[in-house]
């Protein structure tokens, strides 16, 4: 039973760590687009 719990815990930890790293990437990539949207630079760039 403890073995299964350990495996499950490690699996959750793995998901969490990989997910957090990927989410950090999402955060950084979307930062520029967010700034453009907020300051209305999207349209100006296209016009």
């Amino acid at each position: 039973m403890d073995f299964i719990i350990t495996i499950a815990a490690r699996l959750l930890e793995g998901m969490f760590v990989v997910g957090l790293l990927g989410s950090l990437g999402v955060l950084l990539v979307s930062f520029v687009e967010d700034a453009e949207t907020l300051f209305d630079l999207e349209d100006k760039g296209h016009s």
Binding site: L12, G22, G25
Partner: protein, 768 residues
């Protein structure tokens, strides 16, 4: 009338829920994980930026892109009902936790004021004796009373309608912003003057779980330190205890349908505003609370009103701090009670969506007779909230623990569904969560998968560490799931299988169509609709028109033998199931643009007469119709022109535009107008003008004066001896024209007062 709100209003509604978490999230998290809790709150608020991105993507796919719709598309009806049950648990708890927390702030202040007053001898001895000391209110039960009062107040506000509610939400956020600026500024000054306490880093060694915060795991590993056993698992557990700080993101999906044009851009702006605001407010306030409030009082005294405690430990005179605390309490009361409002709006939106899919009985969605709101759904939600408030007995920690269950599971279902839809959904998608790369022609949604993994990991670990939440959340969700399933079964028996449920409309009956009473401005665009499968023309009109400057009226002519003036038609005779479906589709088109439209049903004997009569009464500048399956656009214009001729004076001209399925448009002018002249006629007129102006005294003659003289002579001849000859000649000319233009029978009558136009857009509002 279907109206939409600005992104500021939308952000205010969502923030009333999301930012209100700042008032209780850190207190709950610190009780569960220890002094390093603020770092987890900051982490959760940063992570909320990515959850917000998931919601933006889902709303860019579906106007009503909440959990239910998305999970249903991706994972099917059963899991959709399960996810929406978890979401309802979230919403039902949002109101009570916010209301009770508001009560805690108020009662905390009142008790402190009484202690101060007693210390100064301002409380009469007799009162002191009655209470056997300083009079103190029972914090939890008084908070319950406050929560009940606030919930009942917002119940009534929502029965009256969302617009009034969004107005208040905006006002509450303006006052909250003033408080946040003061709080952060003064805290910064205090940090410089008084110094600060160290906030332990979020490492496993700094985590201090209680037996309560380990839930079922405490029973499995009694006396053992899980963070030290597993390391990262401790971080995950602590993150799970802090996740309620980002509750409220679902409200973004609920307000999306109310957002004004341009929809996607305004949705993104709303999402950014709420994420930034809540990060600054909730995240920084949590850190400041631990940095400035001494350990000895932070949890024991201020755990349920942490920002009030922060106000009391600012640098400055006590009286000023007490006044600021009073301001904090007022703002806390406003925003937390605003969260009660948002919870009602959000859950009303969710249950309406579920109900549209036939999962809830139609009975729930029938509009209020006076206000047109879905009052039965609101009653159900508020009833559950009132029960929860009383059952909680004012315990914010217990409410918070349970609340996190609904929050994280609705997010987890949402993330999973959106991940599946990346592979399954082939329709329009306005925006995608970033970090997508391609391998062997397949798109790998790395960003979306990452967010989903975090959400699922937190949801699963919370199942074991939040025993109260798991038991109450699973029970509540199961009950709601059973209600949804039984209700859906009953609805399926009632309606034809697979039949889409329609929106509910509130009918306001009038004897005549009058522009002023319908609050429609002159120069509006009238869009007659009949077939709900062909609304291309409404799509075209909404695409071209700025509805802030020009009203769009969607009109359905209900053919009736009684005619337009019949007063005794029942609502069912005027507004049948067909009209309901038709307007449901029309509203969906308007929602997709975020542009307001007015809906109108006109009983009529003749559809053409109804259109021109309505256009005339509303002082419309244009009528925009689709191509008829029975007649060509010129024939449609002819019928409309003939109906216009029969209209009594006074009557107005308008442009009639027929939109083809490929968006090509034919325009006709209805009413007296300058005729279109052929080139040779213009040349003839010009030659005549040149010759005549050479005559003495006629050098300043105008073309129109020659035309007037020619027409006067023509009228004279037509009314006298040359009538037959003139008619013979006109028939010959008409036959020649018909042959040249290839429009068929030379005997076809020209449309009365109809002129073909060449413009491609609806006429601008002439009255503006």
């Amino acid at each position: 009338m279907l109206t939409f709100i600005s992104y500021w209003r939308a952000a205010a509604i969502v923030l009333n829920d999301l930012a209100s978490s700042a008032f209780y999230a850190c207190g709950i998290a610190e009780q569960a994980v220890g002094k390093s809790a603020p770092w987890f709150i900051v982490g959760v608020m940063l992570f909320s930026f990515t959850v917000r991105a998931v919601y933006v993507e889902s709303c860019s796919m579906f106007v009503r892109g909440g959990v239910y719709r998305v999970v249903k598309e991706a994972l099917g009806g059963t899991l959709a009902k399960l996810s929406v049950s978890a979401l309802m648990f979230d919403y039902v708890l949002t109101g009570p936790i916010s209301g009770v927390s508001a009560g805690q702030y108020i009662v905390g202040l009142l008790n402190e004021v009484m202690v101060t007053a007693d210390a100064h001898g301002w409380i009469p001895r007799a009162v002191h004796n009655i209470f056997h000391g300083t009079p103190q209110l029972n914090v939890n039960w008084t908070s319950v009373v406050f929560a009940l009062a606030v919930t009942i107040y917002y119940w009534w506000e929502n029965i009256k309608g969302i617009h009034e509610s969004s107005e208040k939400a905006l006002w509450v956020m303006q006052i909250t912003t003033v408080m946040v600026v003061m709080l952060l500024g003064w805290s910064g000054f205090t940090l410089l003057k008084n110094g600060f306490q160290h906030v332990p880093l979020p490492s496993p060694g700094n985590l201090h779980f209680t037996s309560e915060s380990l839930g079922f795991l405490h029973h499995r590993f009694p006396g053992q330190s899980l963070p030290q056993m597993f390391g990262v698992l401790g971080i995950l557990i602590a993150f799970g205890h802090s996740v309620l700080a980002m509750s409220g993101e679902e409200s973004l999906a609920q307000v999306n349908r109310e957002l004004a044009h341009p929809k996607l851009k305004n949705l993104k702006r709303t999402a950014i505003v709420i994420a930034l605001y809540s990060f600054i407010f909730t995240g920084l306030t949590a850190l400041l609370a631990v940095m400035l409030i001494p350990d000895s009082v932070r949890v024991p005294v201020y755990k349920d009103n942490l920002i009030a405690g922060l106000a009391m430990y600012m640098y400055g005179p006590e009286i000023v701090r007490l006044i600021f605390r009073g301001f904090v309490v007022v703002v806390g009361f406003l925003i937390l009670s605003g969260a009660v409002n948002t919870a009602i709006i959000g859950s009303n939106g969710v249950l309406n969506r579920v109900s549209e899919d036939g999962v809830l009985a139609d009975w729930f969605r029938l509009p209020h007779r006076k206000y047109g709101t879905s009052f039965r759904i609101i009653n159900l939600i508020v009833g559950l909230q009132l029960f929860t408030i009383i059952a909680s007995r004012g315990d914010v920690y217990a409410l918070g623990e349970a609340y996190a269950f609904g929050v994280i599971w609705s997010f987890a279902f949402k993330g999973l569904a959106m991940l599946v839809l990346r592979f399954k959904y082939k329709g329009e998608r306005g925006w995608k969560v970033p970090i997508n790369f391609h391998i062997a022609g397949y798109e790998i949604p790395f960003g979306m998968a990452s967010v989903t993994m975090v959400l699922l990991a937190v949801a699963l670990v919370n199942l074991f560490t939040k025993s109260v939440a798991t038991v109450s959340g699973v029970t509540f969700s199961a009950v709601f799931f059973v209600i949804f399933t039984l209700s859906e079964y009953a609805n399926r028996k009632k309606h034809a299988k697979g039949q889409q449920q329609n929106d509910q409309f509130q009918l306001l009956q009038r004897d005549t169509v009058e522009r002023e009473s319908l609050n429609i401005h002159p120069g509006n665009i009238l869009v007659p609709v009949r077939d709900y499968n062909t609304l291309t023309h409404l799509h075209w009109a909404l695409e071209k028109i700025n509805t802030l400057e020009q009203d769009v009226v969607v009109m359905s002519a209900r053919i009736s033998r009684f005619g337009a003036a019949a007063y005794d038609l029942t609502p069912e005779q005027i507004f049948s199931d067909y009209e309901q479906t038709l307007f449901t589709r029309a509203v969906a088109v308007a929602e997709s643009f975020g542009k307001k439209v007015s809906l109108l049903v006109v009983p009529a004997v003749d559809v053409w007469a109804a259109i021109v009569q309505t256009a005339n009464n509303l002082e419309s500048s244009a009528v925009v119709a689709g191509v008829s399956s029975k007649m060509s656009p010129p024939e449609q214009a002819f019928n409309l022109g003939r109906a216009w001729e029969a209209l009594p004076e006074p009557k107005r001209q308008f442009v009639f535009q027929v939109v083809y399925p490929d968006d090509h448009v034919e325009s006709f002018r209805i009413g007296p107008h300058s005729p279109s002249m052929k080139d040779e006629d213009v040349l003839l007129l010009h030659r005549l003008w040149l010759n005549i102006t050479r005559e003495p005294g006629l050098d300043k003659l105008h073309h129109h004066e020659i035309l007037r003289e020619a027409l006067t002579r023509f009228a004279h001849d037509y009314g006298a001896r040359d009538r037959d000859d003139i008619l013979k000649e006109l028939r010959r000319l008409n036959a020649t024209d018909a042959a040249e233009s290839g429009r068929g029978s030379p005997n076809a009558s020209p449309a009365p007062v109809v002129q073909r136009e060449s413009d491609d857009g609806p006429p601008a509002n002439r009255s503006s």
